[in-house]
């Protein structure tokens, strides 16, 4: 056959070198990490979508309550106690303006509370902030304005509902105008 004897494979002692093994491990771990990252980002996206849809249900429900109210009784109770007091997150919101804020709601109805914590359909807690301000729109709709608008304009109540995370940032934000001819 040949002049060099064929070494039986099972008794050969030359394996992989440390460098080769480490390279293989690095390649393997990059692959595994990519898989894990794909899973975890999928999970985070799913969780976020769940929270946003639950927050939307709460915001819709709060706005529905305002639709049911009389124009005159769309207001906030700004001295309703510690649980619903206006904190820095509330007053720091873009929709907040101390001069335009419509106050005077006496009851403990959900529409009167500037800040409240509600349980969403998914069982999680959500902070729901409501803002009411006068806004001026063109047209003829007002009968009893409580705020002055320039000529040719009429006041409406601008309701903003914000459902936010406990750690800051909004899940969802809704806004709607209410005029004095609807809901008297």
């Amino acid at each position: 056959m040949t002049d060099a004897p064929v070494t039986p494979r099972t008794s050969a002692e030359d394996g992989f070198t440390l460098i080769e093994v480490m390279l293989a491990l690095v390649v393997l771990s990059v692959g595994v990490l990519a898989l894990v990252a794909a899973y975890s980002s999928g999970y985070v996206a799913l969780r976020h979508a769940t929270r946003v849809s639950s927050a939307t249900v709460l915001a819709d429900s709060q706005m529905e309550r305002y639709r049911a109210r009389q124009y005159a009784s769309i207001a906030l109770n700004t001295s309703c106690g510690a649980s619903c007091a206006e904190d820095s997150t509330y007053t720091g919101d873009a929709a907040y303006s101390s001069t335009a804020q419509v106050t005077g709601c006496a009851t403990t109805d959900r529409t009167c509370l500037p800040t409240q914590t509600l349980t969403g359909p998914d069982g999680q807690s959500y902070r729901v902030d409501s803002f009411i301000a006068y806004s001026c729109v063109s047209g003829t709709l007002s009968t009893s304005p409580s705020v002055s608008c320039s000529s040719g304009q009429n006041p409406v109540k601008l309701v903003t509902v914000v459902v936010r995370r406990s750690t800051g940032g909004d899940w969802v934000r809704e806004q709607s105008n209410f005029n004095s001819l609807v809901g008297t």
Binding site: V6, P8, S61, E64, R65, R67, Q70, A72, S73, T107
Partner: protein, 215 residues
């Protein structure tokens, strides 16, 4: 150089393969790996199916509520299926919404009676399904009327509708003063049955009867 070349040629020409024992061990290891991979795949596929069904149940729940909301906003009356006013604080299995012909969901532009009712689920024992059935003539339809369409399933309650007054509450909800009448609608869904402690999706809303009087 020469010896390395010779050795390589020798190896290429060698006919000795793997022994039976080596093959058996390799196949056994392969079997272990494939089995565990299959288990992972089957588990993932079950989880995917469960998540998908859950997502669909919650989606149809929200769609159903939206449909009810749009009909009630347009309705001229919300009664029981006999046309009587709803008793405040009482939970109903069925309500009939009277839709004038101009409403988008009225059939053929004429006054339509649209009944929303629950009956036993066909998917899970102990659960309920929400149906909508319409008629353009009296008597008002019920869940027994032919042609009902299912809007929601896996419901955990058979009585989703309740009308609160300013004195009588529905699940703690009172009608505020100076407000339109509100219909309290509760649509809790859970895929794992009424006894389940987790996985609940409790969709609740108070829908304003916009053609009612504010009082």
């Amino acid at each position: 150089m020469g010896s390395r070349f010779r050795r390589a040629r020798a190896r290429a020409a060698a006919e000795s393969g793997f022994s039976l024992v080596e093959l058996l061990i390799a196949m056994f290891i392969l079997l272990l790996v494939v089995t565990s991979l299959t288990a992972v795949l089957v588990g993932a596929s079950h989880a995917q199916l469960d998540a998908d069904t859950r997502f669909q149940a919650q989606l149809t729940d929200r769609t159903g509520l939206d449909k009810i909301r749009r009909e009630i906003h347009c309705a001229t009356a919300v009664t029981d299926t006999n046309g009587n006013s709803l008793t405040a604080g009482t939970a109903y299995t069925a309500i009939t919404v009277t839709l004038p012909g101009a409403c988008p969901t009225a059939s053929g532009g004429v006054t339509t009676y649209s009944t929303w009712c629950t009956s036993a689920s066909t998917l899970t024992t102990g659960d309920y399904a929400l149906y909508r059935v319409t008629s353009t003539a009296l008597p008002r339809p019920t869940c027994g009327t032919a042609g009902k369409v299912k809007w929601d399933d896996y419901l955990q309650t058979s009585t989703p509708f309740c009308l609160p007054s300013s004195g009588v509450a529905c699940s703690g909800v009172l009608k505020p003063t100076s407000s339109l009448p509100l219909l309290h609608v509760t649509l809790p869904v859970n895929l794992t049955g009424p006894a389940a402690v987790s996985g609940s999706y409790n969709l609740v809303d108070d829908i304003a009867l916009r053609n009612g009087a504010r009082s």
